[in-house]
C-alpha cells in the first residue's frame, strides 16, 4: 500500500490508488470542523453574492446590454462600447476632471497631514496635544451630507455667513457654490477639513518610534529645533511617507462619489463631473 508515488510516473495508475485515502483524510478534517464552516457560511454567502457576483456583471461592458434579456442573452459586441466611450468628447472631460481633482488631492491634502502630524509631534504639553487630536479627528466621522451641508450654510448667497460678511465690508457677493472656478478649491478644502486629522494618525505612530538618541546627538552637534525636524524627524519617517504616498496613488482616480455628487450642480458640471458621477447619471438615473 504505497500511498506516495515512487519512481518516475509512467502511467496514471498510482494516483487513483493513492487518492481515496487522502480524500478520506481531508474529508475527515473538513467534517471535524463542520461547525466552523457553518459559522463562516453567512460571511461566505455575503462575499459570493455581493462581491463576486457583481464582478461577473462586468461582462455587460462587452455587450449591447438589455435589462430584460439579462447578462447571458444580451448581444455580444466586443469592444464597441469602449470605442464609443473613448471617442466621446465627454470621456476626455471626465478624465481631465477626475485627474485634476486627484492631483489637487495629492498636492494639497497629503502634505497637510504630514505637516499637522509633525506639529503635533513637537508639542510638549501632553493635555494640549490630546485635546487637539480629539478635536481634529471628529470631522472624519461626519457624513459628507453634513460636511456639504455646513459648506452650503456658510457659503450660500441666501444669507450664508461668508457672503453676509463680504457684504458687510462692502465687497461683492460671490456665488461659491454655483461657480466652476470655485468647485475644485472647495472640494480640496472640504477634504482637508474632514480628513487631515484622521490622516495624521499613521504618521504620529511612525513619529513615536523615532529614536530619541538621534535628537540628543543632533543637539550636541548644535542643531536647533527646525534643523532637528529637517535632519532627524523627516528622514526617520520617510519610509512611512513613501508608503502612504504609494497607497494614495493606488486609489488615485477614486475621488469620492458622495462628496462630488453633493457639490455638483448645473453651473459647475463642466469641471465637476467625474467618472463615478457620470456612471451614476448615465446608468441609473
Amino acid at each position: 500500500m504505497s500511498d506516495v508515488m515512487t519512481g518516475p510516473v509512467i502511467s496514471e495508475q498510482p494516483v487513483p490508488k493513492a487518492k481515496p485515502r487522502q480524500v478520506h483524510e481531508l474529508w475527515r478534517r473538513v467534517w471535524k470542523e463542520r461547525w466552523i464552516y457553518a459559522l463562516f457560511l453567512p460571511g461566505f454567502a455575503y462575499f459570493i453574492i455581493f462581491k463576486y457576483w457583481p464582478m461577473w456583471g462586468v461582462i455587460m461592458a462587452f455587450e449591447n446590454y438589455q435589462p430584460f434579456q439579462g447578462v447571458l442573452d444580451s448581444q455580444w459586441v466586443g469592444l464597441e462600447n469602449f470605442q464609443r466611450f473613448f471617442s466621446d468628447p465627454a470621456f476626455w472631460q471626465l478624465f481631465r476632471n477626475t485627474f485634476i481633482l486627484a492631483v489637487y488631492n495629492i498636492v494639497f491634502f497629503f502634505p497637510c497631514t504630514i505637516i499637522v502630524a509633525l506639529l503635533l509631534n513637537e508639542l510638549r504639553l501632553r493635555w494640549f496635544k490630546s485635546a487637539v487630536q480629539t478635536l481634529i479627528y471628529i470631522p472624519h466621522f461626519f457624513s459628507w451630507t453634513v460636511v456639504v451641508g455646513i459648506t452650503y450654510m456658510l457659503l450660500t448667497t441666501q444669507g450664508g455667513l461668508v457672503n453676509e460678511l463680504l457684504k458687510m465690508v462692502g465687497l461683492h457677493q460671490v456665488n461659491f457654490l454655483e461657480n466652476s472656478a470655485w468647485f475644485r478649491p472647495l472640494i480640496v478644502i472640504q477634504d482637508i477639513w474632514k480628513e487631515t486629522g484622521w490622516g495624521t494618525i499613521i504618521f504620529l505612530a511612525a513619529l513615536a518610534g523615532v529614536n530619541v538618541e538621534l535628537y540628543e546627538a543632533a543637539r550636541i552637534d548644535g542643531a536647533n529645533r527646525l534643523q532637528q525636524l529637517w535632519h532627524v524627524t523627516l528622514p526617520a519617517i520617510r519610509g512611512v511617507i513613501i508608503v502612504m504616498f504609494i497607497l494614495r496613488l493606488g486609489s488615485f482616480l477614486d475621488v469620492g462619489f458622495e462628496q462630488i455628487w453633493l457639490m455638483l450642480n448645473a453651473m459647475n458640471r463642466d469641471v465637476g463631473e467625474v467618472f463615478d458621477t457620470y456612471v451614476y447619471t448615465l446608468g441609473l438615473q
Partner: protein, 285 residues
C-alpha cells in the same frame, strides 16, 4: 527634545501652539457656528435670542420624524447584523486548522482590491428584490473586509491554550466562541460595532442608489434635500426643490445638528479604540 530653554526653542514652541490652536479652531468653528445658529431666533448671521422653534418645527413634521426613525432602525438592526456576521466569519478565519483557510482569506482580501462596480452591484441588489426596501441599506454593506481582517487578527492573538483548555473541559466549537473568545473580545466588538453604526448612519450613496420611495429615505438624504437643494436652486439628485424651498436657515441648521448628534454621542467611546484598531490593521493587514 526636552530641556531646551533657549529663546529660539521657546519661540518655536509658542509658534507651534498658536498654529495648532488655529488648526483646531478651523476644525471646530464651522460646526459650532451651525449649532449656535440653529438655536437663533432670527436668520441674521449674528445669532441672537435663544429659541428651540427650529427643532420644535422639525419634530412636528412627519417627514423628518419618519426619516429619523428609519435611520435609527437601520443603524440598530444593521449594526447587529454586521457585527454578528463579521465576528462569526472572523472567528472561522482565525481557526488555524481549518482546511481551506488560506483560500477563504484570499477570497476576502481580493475584495479589498477589486469590486464589480456600481451598476453590476445595483443589478444584484435589484435581482434580490431589495430595491426600495430598508434591507438595501443594511445587507450590501454587511461585512467590511477591512474590519473582518482586523478582527480575525485580534482573535488570533487569543492564546490557543485557552481555547484548548475549554475544549478539554468538553466545550464544543460554538461553546469556545461564546464562552471564551467573545467575552475576551468585548472591547473590540464594541469598537467595531460603533464603527459599523457610524458607517450605516452616515450612508447616503446606497440610499439614493437603492431607495426611490421618499417615505423610506434615511435622514442623510432628507438632509441633502432640505439643506443642499433648498440653498442651491439648481438641484442635482431626485426630488423636487420647490417642496423644500420654504425652510428657513434655522431649520436647515437644525437638520444638520440632529443628524450629527449620534456621531458626537459615540465619539468619545470611538476615540478610545479606533487609533489602536487602525494600527492593528495597518501593521498586520
Amino acid at each position: 527634545m526636552v530641556n531646551e530653554r533657549t529663546f529660539a526653542g521657546r519661540a518655536f514652541d509658542a509658534a507651534n501652539i498658536v498654529l495648532l490652536t488655529l488648526v483646531s479652531l478651523a476644525t471646530l468653528l464651522p460646526f459650532v457656528y451651525v449649532v449656535v445658529a440653529s438655536f437663533s431666533a432670527t436668520d441674521d448671521i449674528i445669532p441672537k435670542s435663544f429659541t428651540l422653534s427650529a427643532y420644535r418645527y422639525l419634530f412636528s413634521t412627519d417627514t423628518f420624524v419618519r426619516s429619523l426613525g428609519i435611520s435609527i432602525y437601520i443603524t440598530v438592526v444593521g449594526t447587529v447584523l454586521s457585527l454578528v456576521a463579521t465576528a462569526l466569519s472572523a472567528y472561522a478565519l482565525s481557526h488555524r486548522k481549518l482546511p481551506g483557510r488560506r483560500f477563504f482569506l484570499l477570497l476576502v482580501l481580493f475584495t479589498m482590491l477589486f469590486n464589480g462596480g456600481m451598476i453590476p452591484t445595483y443589478f444584484v441588489v435589484k435581482d434580490l428584490g431589495m430595491i426600495n426596501t430598508l434591507w438595501s441599506l443594511m445587507i450590501p454593506g454587511l461585512i467590511s473586509s477591512f474590519y473582518l481582517i482586523i478582527m480575525k487578527n485580534f482573535f488570533l492573538e487569543i492564546p490557543e491554550d485557552l481555547k484548548e483548555a475549554a475544549r478539554i473541559d468538553g466545550c464544543t466549537e460554538l461553546g469556545v466562541l461564546f464562552r471564551v473568545v467573545l467575552p475576551l473580545s468585548l472591547p473590540v466588538l464594541a469598537a467595531f460595532g460603533l464603527l459599523y453604526a457610524v458607517g450605516i448612519w452616515n450612508q447616503y450613496f446606497n440610499a439614493i442608489l437603492y431607495i426611490n420611495d421618499q417615505t423610506k429615505w434615511p435622514i442623510q438624504v432628507l438632509l441633502q434635500q432640505i439643506v443642499v437643494l433648498a440653498s442651491g436652486g439648481f438641484g442635482n439628485a431626485a426630488g423636487s426643490a420647490d417642496a423644500v424651498q420654504v425652510f428657513g436657515q434655522g431649520v436647515r441648521m437644525a437638520v444638520i445638528v440632529v443628524s450629527t448628534i449620534p456621531i458626537l454621542i459615540v465619539y468619545p467611546f470611538l476615540q478610545k479604540h479606533f487609533a489602536k484598531g487602525m494600527l492593528i490593521g495597518s501593521v498586520k493587514g
